[in-house]
Symmetry: C2
Subunit: 452 residues, 2 copies
C-alpha cells in the first residue's frame, strides 16, 4: 500500500522549503514530506556570486537544517505524475505516495532561445544544480572571452561578478535599448550601464543574437547587426518559463504557459493542491494581469500564504498580486525598484505623476563616504496612491526600497509619504530635511497641486 | 509702521527651515521671513560627529541655500515678545514686525542639573551654537579625562565618537540601570554597552552624580555611590526641555512645561500661530499621552504639516502622534527603534506579544562581511496590530527600521508582516527565507495562535 503523508511538498528551492516550514508551524500535528530531485539545493539568488565573491560553489548551498529542525522529512526523487483521483504521486523509481495536501514548488526552467548553434558546447543556460554550476564556475575561470546573453538583473549580476576576475573580456547582449528595462525607467538603466562600462564590460544594446558559430564548441556570437563577438563561453540569461508539465498533465488549469493558475490563497484549481514560487502564475498588484516576474522573495511570500492556509483559509493571508520589489548591485551602485515603472504604467494606461529627489545619503554631506541617492516615485494622478518607486545609491537602498514596498502594500497616499515620520542618522540615512521618499513625494504633490 | 510678512518663522533649525520651505512650496504667492538668533545654524544630528569624523565644526553647518533658493528672507535677530492682539513680534533691537501667520520653531534647551558644582568651568551642556561647539571641540582635543553625564542616544554618540581620538580616558554616567533604556529593551541596551566596553569606555550605570569638585574648573565627578572619577571636561547630555517662554508670555497654552500645546495640524491655541519641533508638545502615537521625545526627523514631519496647513487645513496631513522612530550607531553596531518598547508598553498597560528573529544580514551567510541582525517586534495581543520594533545589526538597520516605521504608521497587522513582499539581495539583505521582519512576525503569531 502507498505510504501516506498529510502534506507533500514537491521542490527544494526557497518556495518549497518555506511552504513546508510555514505549514509545519501552523499545523505541527501533520506530517510533512519534501521531495526534490537534487541531492542538495542551491540558493538561487546567490548563483551570480559563486565565481568570485564566494570561495566555492558549495558556499551557495541551501541548508537542510531548518527542514530537519522542523521535523520535515526529505526525500531525493523525481515526481513523474500526479494522480488526483487517488490523491497519489508517482515517483521515478515507480513508488507511489498518498497525499492529503500537495504543494507544487517545481520552479522554472531557463529559456534556451531557438537560435542556430545554441546547442554547441560552451553555451550555458542557468540551472540551479550544484554539479552543473561547479562546472560552469570552472569554465568561467578558465576562459577569456565570455558573452552573457540577456541584460536583465540576472545577466547584469553575472557580468558584474565575473568582471572582478582578472584578464576577462566580457560582453553583454540585450535586445531592448537598455539593460534592466523591465524594472527601471531609462535614467536608472543608464546609471547601471555606466557602472558596467567603468568595469570594462562591453555592452551590446538593442542587439539580437543571429547565431552562435564555431566547431563543436562555440567560438563566436553573431549579432543581427552583423557584429561578431569572440566567445569561448556563453551564458544564457534571457529568462525562465514556469515548469507546468506535471500540473498540466494532472488536468490543473495552467493558462497560456504563464504558470499554474492559483487563487489568492495559492490554491490551484484542485483545492487540495497548492502551487507556489516560479511555477505559479504571477499577477500584477495593480491590474491583476499576468506579469512575468520571478523572484525568490515573492516566492517565499507565496509559500507563507500557502503554508498557513493549507487546512482552512485565514483571511488577510492572501496574495493580492506581486509588487515586483527587488534590488540589485552593479559595481558600487545599488539599484532597486518596486511596483510599476513609469514606462510600464503608461503602457497599461495609468494616469501618473512622478516625483523625484537627488539627495546625499548621509548628513552632514561632508561626512566621509557620503554618496548621492536618486529616487523616483510614481503616483496615481487622480487618487495620489503610490504605484511604484525606483532608487539608485549606496548599500542602504536595499532596505529603503522595502519602505516603498510597505507603502505600496498598504496603499499609501503621496501626503502620507510627505509627512512620513522616519528615523534619520548622520551615518545611516539622508538628512531629515530632505529625506528622499519625502522629497520625491513633495515633488509629485507640487505637480498634482491643481487637484488639491 | 511695522513691516509686514505673510509668514514669519522663528527659529533656524531643521523644524524652522522645513516649515518655511514647505509653506513657500504650498503658498508661493506669500512672502516668508525666517528669523534666527545665530548667524549660522548647525545641523543638530551632526553635533556628536564634529570631534573626529568631521575635519572641523564648520563642516556641520546647515546651509542657507535651500532658504535662498525658495526666496525666503533670513534675518539674524532675537524675538523677545509676541503681541498677539496686534499680530506683531518684537525684536531685541526694538524693531517690530507684523505677521499674518507665525511659526514657532524655537527649539529646546539642554538641561543643567541642580548639582553642586555644575557651574564650574569645563562643564558643557550641549548647545547648538557654532562658536560654542568650536570651543568644545578644542577642549575635547586638549584634555585626557572626559566624563559624559547621561547615557541616552546623544550621550552614547558623543562617547562613541570621542573614543576614536587617541589617548582619552572616557566615562559615561547613567542614572538608569542601562544606557539607551528609554528607546530599547535591556537586551538591546546590553549590546550597545558591549560595544562601548570594547572601545575602552568606562560605564557607570545606575549611578547618580552627587557633585562636581575642583577649583574654578572641574577636576572630579563624585557619584552617589562614593566613586570618584577624574574629569577635566564634563559633557551634560541628560536631556532638553522645550523653550516655551515666548509662547507662555504670549498667553498660549503650554501645559505642564511639556511643550507648547498644538493640535494635529500643529496649530497652537491661537489659530494664526503654529509650533513645530522641540518646542511643541509631543504625544504618543498609541495613547496620545505626552512623551518626551525630541528628534530632528519628527520635527521635520511636524514642519511639513504646519507648512502645508498654514492657510487652510488639508486633511490627511495631520500628526497623529510621534512614533519615536530613530537609529544610532555605537562602534560597528547599528541600533534602531520605532514605537513602543516592551517595557514602555507594559508600563502603559498594553497587552502585548513579542516576536524575535536573529538572522544573517546577507545571503548566503558565507558571503564576506555577513553579520547577525537581531529584531524584536511588538504586537497587540488582541488585535495583532504592530506597536513597535527594535533592531540591532549593520548599516542597513538604519533604513530597515523605516520599514517598521511605515508599518506602524499604516497600522499593520502581524499577518501583513508575515506575508510582506520584500526585496532581497545577497549583498544587501537577509535571505528571503528568513527575512527578519517576517521571521519575527511569524514568531509572534505562533505565540498568539490560541487566538487565531
Amino acid at each position: 500500500m502507498s505510504k501516506f503523508f498529510d502534506v507533500i511538498v514537491v521542490g527544494g528551492g526557497p518556495a518549497g522549503v518555506v511552504s513546508a516550514i510555514t505549514g509545519k508551524k501552523y499545523y505541527p500535528e501533520k506530517n510533512f514530506l519534501l521531495i526534490r530531485e537534487n541531492p542538495v539545493s542551491v540558493i538561487p539568488c546567490g548563483i551570480p556570486y559563486i565565481f568570485y565573491s564566494l570561495d566555492s560553489t558549495e558556499k551557495d548551498i541551501l541548508s537542510d537544517e531548518p527542514l530537519k529542525a522542523n521535523r520535515i522529512e526529505i526525500m531525493i526523487d523525481k515526481v513523474t505524475k500526479i494522480d488526483r483521483s487517488k490523491k497519489e504521486i508517482l515517483l521515478a523509481g515507480g513508488e507511489r505516495l498518498k497525499y492529503g495536501k500537495l504543494i507544487l514548488a517545481i520552479g522554472s526552467e531557463s529559456i534556451v532561445p531557438r537560435i542556430p548553434g545554441s546547442k554547441k558546447k560552451g553555451i550555458f543556460p542557468i540551472k540551479k544544480e550544484l554539479e552543473y554550476l561547479k562546472k560552469l564556475r570552472e569554465e568561467v575561470h578558465k576562459v577569456k572571452n565570455i558573452v552573457v546573453i540577456g541584460g536583465g538583473f540576472i545577466g547584469v549580476e553575472f557580468v558584474d561578478e565575473i568582471s572582478q576576475l582578472p584578464g576577462k573580456n566580457i560582453h553583454i547582449v540585450e535586445m531592448l535599448p537598455h539593460c534592466l528595462l523591465r524594472a527601471f525607467d531609462e535614467e536608472f538603466c543608464a546609471l547601471a550601464e555606466e557602472e558596467l562600462k567603468k568595469k570594462g564590460v562591453n555592452l551590446w544594446l538593442g542587439e539580437k543574437v543571429e547565431k552562435f558559430e564555431g566547431g563543436e564548441r562555440v567560438a563566436r556570437v553573431i549579432l543581427s547587426s552583423g557584429k561578431i563577438i569572440p566567445a569561448e563561453l556563453v551564458i544564457l540569461s534571457i529568462g525562465a518559463k514556469p515548469n507546468v508539465r506535471l500540473a498540466e498533465e494532472a488536468g490543473l488549469w495552467v493558462g497560456r504557459g504563464e504558470g499554474i493558475w492559483v487563487d489568492e490563497y495559492m490554491r490551484t484549481s484542485d483545492p487540495d493542491i497548492f502551487a507556489v514560487g516560479d511555477c505559479a502564475e504571477k499577477r500584477c498588484f495593480y491590474t491583476r494581469k499576468h506579469i512575468p516576474v520571478m523572484l525568490a522573495s515573492t516566492a517565499t511570500a507565496e509559500a507563507r500564504v500557502a503554508g498557513s492556509n493549507l487546512y482552512g483559509l485565514k483571511v488577510l493571508r492572501e496574495i493580492k498580486g506581486t509588487i515586483a520589489v527587488f534590488s540589485t548591485r552593479v559595481g558600487n551602485l545599488v539599484l532597486a525598484s518596486a511596483g510599476l515603472t513609469e514606462n510600464k504604467a503608461k503602457e497599461d494606461n495609468f494616469e501618473v505623476v512622478t516625483g523625484e529627489a537627488v539627495v546625499p545619503d548621509k548628513h552632514p554631506a561632508t561626512l566621509p563616504g557620503t554618496r548621492k541617492m536618486k529616487v523616483r516615485l510614481l503616483f496615481s494622478k487622480f487618487s495620489s496612491t503610490i504605484l511604484g518607486g525606483q532608487i539608485a545609491g549606496g548599500e542602504t537602498v536595499g532596505e529603503l526600497i522595502n519602505v516603498v514596498g510597505m507603502a505600496i502594500q498598504k496603499r499609501s497616499q503621496a501626503v502620507e509619504l510627505e509627512t512620513f515620520q522616519m528615523a534619520t542618522h548622520p551615518w545611516l540615512t539622508s538628512p531629515p530635511t530632505v529625506y528622499p521618499l519625502v522629497t520625491a513625494a513633495m515633488d509629485a504633490i507640487k505637480k498634482m497641486r491643481s487637484n488639491l
